[in-house]
C-alpha cells in the first residue's frame, strides 16, 4: 500500500507542467476561442508525444493504458494550465471504442490514431448514461467538435457518427460547444449502452482531475496576488479575511485530490462508478469555491477578460456542471451505497 504518486508518476506530471508552461497556454486559449485551432492542435501533438493521449488506449490497441493514475496526473496538469481542446472527450471516446472492440469496423484504426495524437475526437452524450434519475437536461453538444477528426453521438443504445453543427459560446471561452448533426448508426444494442457508461465514468474521472488542477492554479495565483497587492499600506494577504478565504480554498482542494486518486485506483472494481462520482462532487465544489475566492481576492481585475486568471475562473464554473452536476453525482453515490 503506497497511496501517493511514485517517482515516475511525479516526473510525468512535472514534464507536462514544463511543456505547458512553455506553451503559454493563455495565448493558445485566446486563439482557440476565436476558432484559430492551430496552436492548440500543435500542443495536442506535443502532449501526444509524451503519451498523454495513449493513457486511455489499451496496449493491445496501440496505446499504453489503461493507466488511470497517470491519466489523472495528466489531467491535473491540463487543468492547471487550462489547456483547450477535447481531451476529456477523446479519452471517453477511446474508452467507448475499446469497450466495443470488434463491433466497430474502424474501431482499432481510430484507437491507434487517438493514441498517436493523430485523431482528435469528440462525443455528445445527450443524457449521461451512468447517472441515475432525475436525468440531466439534454446536452446535445460535442465539445470542440469543429476541431475534431472523429465525432460520435450516443443516443440511448445507438452509437452514431456525427458532424459539428452550430457552435454555441460557453462562459469558458476555451469551450466551444457545437450541437451535433447525427449521421449513420455505427453500432446498437446493450453493448453500446454499457460502453457508454464506461466512457462516461472515464470522462467524469478526467474532469474531476482537471477541476482539481484548475482549483490549484487559482489558489497559486491568488496567493501570489495577495502577497503583492497592497491596500491600506500593506499586502492584502496580511488581512485575516483574505488569509481565511485562501486557507478554505486549500482545505477543499487537499481533500478533493485523494478522492480523485482513490477513484483512479479503483478503476476496474465494482466501486469505480461510485468513486468517480464522489471525486467529481468534491472536485467541482472545491474548484468552484477556489474560483469564487480567487475572484474575491483579485477584485475587479479578476473580473476582466484580459487578465489571465479569469480564464481559470470561468473554466471552474463550466466544469462544475460539465459531465454531471454535483447533485447528479451525489445521487449516484447514494444510489450505489443504499441501493435506492
Amino acid at each position: 500500500m503506497k497511496f501517493i504518486l511514485d517517482a515516475e508518476q511525479r516526473l510525468f506530471g512535472e514534464t507536462l507542467d514544463k511543456i505547458l508552461t512553455e506553451a503559454d497556454t493563455p495565448s493558445v486559449i485566446r486563439g482557440w476561442a476565436a476558432g484559430a485551432h492551430q496552436p492548440g492542435l500543435a500542443l495536442w501533438r506535443s502532449l501526444a508525444a509524451t503519451g498523454v493521449l495513449a493513457l486511455a488506449v489499451p496496449e493491445s490497441a496501440g496505446g499504453a493504458g489503461p493507466l488511470p493514475v497517470e491519466l489523472v496526473t495528466a489531467f491535473h496538469e491540463l487543468g492547471r494550465h487550462a489547456v483547450p481542446g477535447p481531451y476529456t472527450e477523446t479519452v471517453a471516446v477511446a474508452t467507448l471504442l475499446h469497450r466495443l472492440g470488434d463491433e466497430l469496423e474502424r474501431g482499432s484504426e481510430w484507437l491507434e490514431g487517438i493514441a498517436e495524437g493523430r485523431v482528435v475526437a469528440s462525443l455528445a452524450l445527450p443524457a449521461l448514461p451512468a447517472l441515475p434519475a432525475p436525468p440531466q437536461a439534454a446536452a446535445p453538444y460535442a465539445l470542440d467538435a469543429d476541431a475534431a477528426d472523429l465525432v460520435l453521438l450516443v443516443d440511448g443504445d445507438e452509437l452514431r457518427a456525427a458532424a459539428a453543427g452550430e457552435v454555441r459560446a460557453s462562459l469558458d471561452p476555451a469551450r466551444r460547444l457545437p450541437s451535433v448533426v447525427a449521421g449513420d448508426v455505427l453500432a446498437a444494442g446493450p453493448s453500446v449502452a454499457a460502453a457508454a457508461r464506461a466512457a462516461c465514468d472515464m470522462g467524469v474521472l478526467a474532469t474531476a482531475a482537471q477541476l482539481v488542477g484548475v482549483g490549484r492554479r487559482l489558489l497559486e495565483v491568488s496567493v501570489d496576488y495577495a502577497k503583492a497587492r497592497q491596500q491600506f499600506g500593506r499586502p492584502i494577504g496580511e488581512f485575516q479575511a483574505v488569509k481565511h478565504h485562501l486557507a478554505d480554498a486549500l482545505v477543499g482542494l487537499e481533500y478533493a485530490r485523494p478522492l480523485v486518486h482513490g477513484a483512479a485506483v479503483s478503476y476496474g472494481s465494482p466501486d469505480f462508478g461510485r468513486d468517480v462520482s464522489a471525486a467529481k462532487v468534491a472536485a467541482s465544489e472545491a474548484a468552484y469555491a477556489a474560483a469564487k475566492i480567487a475572484l474575491q481576492v483579485h477584485g475587479a481585475i479578476g473580473y476582466t477578460d484580459e487578465y489571465d486568471p479569469s480564464l481559470w475562473i470561468r473554466k471552474a464554473r463550466a466544469l462544475h456542471s460539465a459531465w454531471g452536476s454535483p447533485a447528479a453525482h451525489r445521487a449516484r453515490v447514494i444510489s450505489a451505497l443504499a441501493g435506492v
Binding site: S170, V242, A300, S321
Partner: protein, 375 residues
Amino acid sequence: MDLDLSSVAPFRAEVREWLRTHLPAAPLPSLEIEEGFAAHRAWERELYGARLSVVSWPEEYGGRAATPLEWLVFEEEYYAAGAPGRVSQNGINLLAPTLFQHGTPEQLARVLPSMASGEVIWAQAWSEPGAGSDLASLRATATRVDGGWLLNGQKTWSSRAAFADWGFGPFRSDPEAQRHRGLTYLMFPLDAEGITRRPIGRIDGKPAFAELFFDDVFVPDRDVIGEPGAGWKVAMSTTGNERGLTLRSPGRFLAAADRLLDLWRERADPADTALRDRVADAWIKARAYRLKGYETVSRTDDIGAESSINKIFWSELDVTLHETALDLLGPDGELEGDWLEGYVFSLAGPIYAGTNEIQRNVIAERVLGLPRAGR
C-alpha cells in the same frame, strides 16, 4: 405597523399600464455593448417622456417628486415587467444624490435634466490601479490653474465609460496631503482633450468598463462638486447612497426570484427537493429584502453604516439566485443567455462599491461597535 399599499395603488397602476403599452417588443441587446448602449439610451428618453426615468427627483429636473415608497413601487413594477436595465444608473444613483447634497443650483439645473433624459450618460471614475478598496490611496491629480484644474493620471474600472458621455470622481488636488485629505471631486466630458479611454472586457468579454488616462485635461471651476479639497466628504455621500437600497432596489430581486420560480417549474423535477429548497430560499430572501426596504422607507433616522448590511445581503442573494438558475439549467448553464449574463453581472456585486470584506469591517466597527485593529 402595516403593509397597506392602497395609497400608492393608483401610481402603481399608472406605471404598470404605461410599461404594458410601451415596453420594447423584443429584449434590447446587452447595454454593455455599443448597439445595446444606444438602444438603452433611447429607452431612457422614452421613460423620461413619461416622467418615469427619475420618479423621486423634483419636477423641475424631470422627476415627479415621488416618495421613497413610490420609488420602491416603481421599481417593483419596472422589474416585474421585465423592462430594460438602466444605462443611466451610474449618474442617477451615484452622481445625482451627490449633487443634491453638494451641487450648486447652476450645476443641478445644467446636469440633471440631460441626465434624466439619457442625453448625457455618466460614468463613475473612482478606482485607480492602486486604489480599489483603499480609496484613500488615490493618486490621479487635479492641479490648480487659472479658472480651473488640470487632471493627470489614470482611473480604471469605470463602469459604462466605454460608451458614456461624462465622468465624475475624486482627484488629489493637494499633493502634500495624505489619504483622505486634499481630494477634489470633479466632473468632466469623456471626449475632453487629453482623455484616452481604453475599454476593458468584463469576464464575458463585454466592454462593461474602461480605463481612463488623463493628460493635462482642463476642467473649469464650475465642474467642481463641493469645496476643493473636500472630495472625500463628497465621495462618501455617494457611497452611503450606493450601499443602501438605491443601487439594487428590491424590485429587481423580486422579479428575478419570480423568474427563477418559473424556470424551476419549467425545468426541475419537483421531487428534487435540494433545488426546490434553493429556489425557496431565493424567494424568501427576495421577500426579506423587499420588506426591509419598506422598513427603511418607514424610518425617519439616517440608516448610516447599516447600509453595509444591505450591500452584503443583496450582493450575496444575487450570486446565489443566479447560481441556482445555472444549476437548474444543468449543462445549458454555461451557454450564453439571460441567466448567464445575470450571473456574470452578479459576480461583481461582492467586489464593487466596497468589497464585502470592507462592508463586514464597517458593520463590525460602526454598527456593532467592535474595536478597530491597531495600525
